[in-house]
């Protein structure tokens, strides 16, 4: 369970409170999501048999690519979902992109609001946002774009959308950054790790220094791209090209399959919080033994799983493919090792199926 403080609605919940809601949510999803119900029954789990939320079967994130996991009393004809978020495409092609149907985005908005404020805007009410993430209008199926859109609606007095969905700039990014650096008001720069790398490539001279109090949010990794750099190199790049110091760069961890997010609370706790993600109280976080799926002892690496109460409209208990370590309620995500999997000379069957086969 995440540990939070303050009086912003993010205070830690009692285990019993989370337990009760988790069981209620499970009952809802068991009733309304037929594939999930069959899966749970096959594992011998029903709402009446569960005494602990950890016993509720978790679906793998991969399942979002292949199974329609929606928990809503409405049919798609009687009431369409508010949004459908797709994972970013890789070599698998669009047919194999994960899909998260969101019956009601109001819950997404509610889950987003306070954790974002606490992590990124603990000291100001409003801020100018410079987004290296495409706008939700241009990328309506990106949960990340929606998230930045919600941030813009709630907290920005001015927004610059600098990136198109195809990765191209809407205008010269350094023209905007340089203009912002000549103002007095701090700005918030939002981007994926890859977007910040692109920013470096677009630099004509590394001299922009954004106003005091500026901050950056960086999210995502390098999945599906051929380049990868280490975290410290990435943060140095952000500092070099925007002037935002390491203790003003907040890492966000989220995924299409979850409607809640986690952040490094460096703005409130300083760099000692770097690399340690904080979850909101409605997001249960576990690290599991890769073989037994039992909870790992504190400090030991395992597979990360989440129980996200905000995922009411799909499935809340989600098993990721990421590895991490839990310490004092904070999550450290282990870096991916590019190219670690042995590769041969065979193509993958599912890669081919998008090419016209109907296997």
């Amino acid at each position: 369970m995440g540990v939070s403080g303050g009086v912003d609605g993010l205070e830690p919940w009692k285990e019993k409170a989370f337990q009760g809601l988790a069981q209620e949510v499970f009952g809802w999803q068991f009733e309304l999501c037929a594939p999930y119900r069959s899966f749970c029954k096959q594992r011998g789990v029903t709402p009446s048999s569960v005494s602990d939320w950890r016993e509720i079967p978790a679906v793998p994130t991969t399942a979002f690519k292949y199974v329609n996991l929606v928990s809503t009393p409405y049919t798609s004809i009687s009431r369409k979902p508010d949004a459908a978020f797709y994972t970013s495409g890789t070599t698998l092609g669009s047919e194999h992109r994960g899909c998260h149907f969101v019956p009601r985005v109001s819950l997404y908005r509610a889950a987003f609001h306070q954790p974002f404020r606490r992590a990124l805007l603990p000291d100001v009410e409003e801020i100018r946002i410079i987004s290296l993430i495409p706008s939700p209008i241009s990328a309506p199926h990106s949960s990340l774009s929606w998230m930045v859109g919600m941030a813009a609606d709630a907290f920005a007095y001015e927004v610059d959308w600098l990136v198109q969905p195809n990765g191209e700039w809407t205008r010269g990014p350094f023209d905007v950054l340089r203009a912002a650096s000549e103002e007095e008001e701090p700005v918030l720069v939002l981007g994926t790790a890859l977007a910040f790398l692109h920013l470096k490539e677009a630099a004509d001279e590394p001299s922009v220094s954004l106003p005091t109090g500026s901050r950056a949010m960086v999210t995502g990794g390098f999945k599906g791209v051929s380049r990868a750099i280490g975290r410290s190199e990435l943060y140095s790049t952000i500092t070099d090209y925007t002037g935002i110091a390491r203790d003003r760069i907040v890492n966000e961890y989220g995924m299409t399959e979850l409607l809640s997010q986690m952040y490094e609370p460096v703005l409130t706790e300083g760099t000692r919080a770097a690399g340690r993600l904080e979850a909101p109280p409605w997001l249960g976080v576990r690290v599991l033994d890769p073989t037994t799926l039992e909870d790992q002892p504190e400090g030991e690496q395992g597979i990360i799983s989440f129980f996200d109460l905000a995922n009411l409209g799909s499935v809340s208990h989600v098993l990721t493919e990421d590895l991490g370590v839990l310490e004092e309620g904070r999550l450290a995500v282990s870096g991916r090792v590019p190219g670690s999997e042995p590769r041969g000379c065979s193509r993958a069957m599912d890669d081919l199926m998008s090419g016209g086969g109907r296997l």
């Binding site: 670690s340 041969g344 000379c345 090419g355």
Partner: protein, 446 residues
């Protein structure tokens, strides 16, 4: 540009200059003699008492991510194609008279008795061949190197990340056996996926370039070449298996074992491994029972040929396997598939009852799809047939030719019994091309 990078570029350039200087000497050597030297070196990898084989087996497991047991089997299988006998057959399969590689040969043309001239022919290999390989299937680099030298082409080769040891050991042993031939080969490794600059530098000036790799790698290298350069691509393909109903009426244990071995060899990473098995339905055919027998074979193989596990990646591999199996379990709960798996062992067998798209199964995995008739398989696969290389088969003898014609016309280039699927002979038509003829050009004197 870094100092290291400059040094690497300089090394590649120096190697290419030296290779081109080595060409006159190998051109003057009879091809039979070259094949003999290559075969003698290749045979050392099959000799249990030879230090070369022992060195290879010491390093192969960690490099190619194969267990010691499986590495031995793979080395035996690959080295069977590197013997003097195998190379002699290869030459004769590719050229009516291998002396065509040594100089002009007069050719009698039937049906042209009235022709005033009797043409002479000669096969000419590239002046500089650059071979860019990838992946972790060991032995591909040695095959590539042998093919180049048999057509007398000085060769710079970049092996795959999991194939450096064998390629280097072969090249070193060749230098010891025959300095002149050895000087016509240079082995350099760099990360082809990341370091395009080195690849670009390596292929510059070559008049033949061979690329083994993904579609992306092949296209990337092709884009670096002038039109005058001969370009040969062995892009990634996949294997399938087909089983006729007539083969499932009697004892199925042996067949199940052959299928499981074909999957497990190369840890299912090879284009010669069947990834999906099409099994023909019949009244008295129990596809599910066959799936269980294959699962039992995998279980036995887990002891005989254990998988290689890098401790540092064990958690990552477990997490990926868990993702896929749990996803399939959701389909299983809906009644559309049946899954058998080895728990902590990495084998998985999935019998599909419905038309589904499933995630890629890592490890030793096989999808089994019952079909009404094997003849329906090409239309089921659609355009994917163009990516098929090998079709492993178990059908009645009188069906083999018809099936081969059907799959061949759909795109497959090799139709082969399961027990011979893993190791094509040296003289096979690799992806439908003669492995030596693909490298040479013809000169005719009229």
């Amino acid at each position: 540009m870094s100092v290291n990078r400059d040094a690497e570029l300089a090394q590649i350039n120096e190697a290419k200059v030296a290779l081109q200087q080595a060409r006159p000497a190998i051109l003057s050597r009879p091809v039979a003699e070259i094949a003999d030297v290559l075969g003698r070196v290749g045979e050392r990898f099959s000799n249990p008492d030879d230090q070369l084989r022992r060195m290879a087996l010491d390093k192969l497991p960690s490099e190619a991510k194969l267990s010691r047991e499986l590495a031995e089997v793979v080395l035996d299988g690959m080295a069977a194609g590197w013997t003097r006998e195998a190379l002699s057959i290869l030459l004769k399969s590719e050229f009516s008279d291998p002396a065509l590689l040594d100089g002009l040969v007069r050719v009698q043309q039937k049906g042209h008795e009235k022709s005033l001239s009797v043409p002479s022919l000669m096969a000419v290999g590239p002046t500089l061949c650059v071979q860019v390989s990838s992946g972790s299937v060991p032995g591909v680099g040695v095959n590539a190197l042998i093919r180049s030298l048999l057509v007398k082409a000085p060769t710079l080769i970049k092996p795959g990340a999991g194939d450096v040891v064998l390629t280097q050991l072969f090249a070193e042993a060749l230098r010891d056996a025959d300095a002149e031939l050895g000087s016509a080969v240079a082995v350099r490794y760099w990360s082809g996926g990341k370091d395009h600059e080195l690849t670009k530098q390596a292929v510059a000036g070559a008049d033949a370039v061979v690329v083994y790799g993904s579609d992306e790698s092949v296209l990337s290298v092709q884009g670096m070449l002038p039109v005058s350069c001969r370009f040969i691509a062995y892009h990634h393909r996949f294997g399938i298996g087909i089983v006729g109903r007539e083969k499932l009426r009697d004892s199925m244990e042996d067949l199940a074992s052959e299928v499981a071995r074909a999957v497990a060899m190369f840890e299912n990473r090879g284009c010669v491994c069947p990834q999906v098995l099409f099994v023909e339905r019949g009244e008295d055919v129990e596809v599910e029972a066959f799936a269980h027998l294959i699962a039992e074979s995998f279980e036995r193989l887990a002891c005989e040929w254990p998988s290689h596990v890098e401790p540092v990646f064990a958690d990552r591999e477990s997490a990926l396997l868990r993702q896929v199996r749990d996803t399939i379990e959701i389909h299983q709960a809906a009644g559309s598939v049946r899954m058998l798996h080895g728990g902590i062992e990495n084998w998985t067998v999935v019998s599909e009852l419905d038309l589904l798209q499933l995630p890629f199964l890592p490890g030793r995995s096989l999808r089994i799809r019952p079909v009404q008739n094997l003849e329906d398989v090409p239309s089921l696969l659609g355009e994917s047939c163009r990516h098929i290389q090998s079709v492993g088969y178990a059908v009645a003898e009188d069906r083999v030719d018809d099936i081969a014609v059907l799959f061949g016309r759909a795109g497959a280039s090799r139709v082969v019994p399961f027990d011979a699927m893993s190791f094509p002979p040296a003289w096979w038509l690799h992806d439908g091309q003669g492995p030596l003829r693909a490298l040479i050009g013809w000169v005719e004197v009229q």
